[in-house]
Symmetry: C2
DNA sequence: ATAGCACTTAGTGTGCACTCTAAGTCAAGG
DNA sequence: CCTTGACTTAGAGTGCACACTAAGTGCTAT
């Protein structure tokens, strides 16, 4: 349901990313809907490149209950902003790839491996104009 | 200029990601504009999560010259598609975060840590509707 | 009763991408 | 001449996030 392997589930539990997993009569883990919900969050964040350190912070806030809700909001908002940045970065790189594809087409058309434009200048300016962090 | 550390520059050279770096009289590397251009590509791809294995493939095609141009185009187009997918995934997760922020606001307003909605069902459906790969 | 299988634990191994160290070379400045 | 400092090399170390192993337990079916 979460996409996480059995190893990863136990690993996350060891690290403290998930608490109080119930056990059945023979000691096997029985994940509740709440557990699955939380694990889907973890898996989703992880797929988006969040480090385990970061997830531990969030897990800590969750553990602190409602009084940490403003912290949780701030955390989610910061992460939302990070994802927005990543969307923008990817859009910029797509732009770069389209330019590179255009250059490649030119090379194929001319049959010459030499670039017909000042690609260095273009690239430096692309970097400059999309500079951040 | 590339944002890569000295260690990483030499590491990439060892791996064969960059060839024929010129040396000055005392044996120190002197990177050409072409080198910098290529390294900016590598750094950009790396920042976008491309593995070194993948980059090596692309480096191999570059080495093969113009006759591999169609391969290079295909590679770039596939990578462009991957970035588009990532943009879409991030947009979906932003949607999820906004929902989570909404839930948090509800909890803060009600003063109760218990969710007022069936969050499990929402989450499962979110997963289902944005399923891929 | 025994085989088979899914689980349990603690601990170890793996792959990736750096990141650094040790030992050495070279050129410039005082 | 000697120090300083930026480079050179091959190789070792680091941190992350799992992925797996070994040894054992418990349930089920034959």
């Amino acid at each position: 349901m979460t996409g996480l392997s059995e190893y990863t589930l136990r690993y996350y539990e060891r690290l403290g990313l998930i608490d109080d997993v119930q056990r059945d009569a023979s000691g096997h883990r029985r994940y509740s809907n709440k557990d699955v919900e939380w694990l889907i969050f973890l898996a989703t964040f992880r797929e988006m490149g969040m480090s385990i350190q970061e997830m531990l912070k969030f897990a800590g806030m969750k553990r602190s209950g409602l009084h940490a809700a403003p912290d949780r909001k701030a955390f989610l908002e910061a992460y939302r902003a990070k994802l927005s940045d990543e969307v923008r970065d990817r859009a910029n790189v797509i732009e770069l790839i389209d330019w590179k594809l255009h250059i490649l087409d030119q090379k194929i058309a001319s049959g010459s491996p030499e670039p017909l434009e000042d690609t260095f200048q273009y690239l430096i300016q692309w970097r400059e104009s999309h500079r951040h962090r």
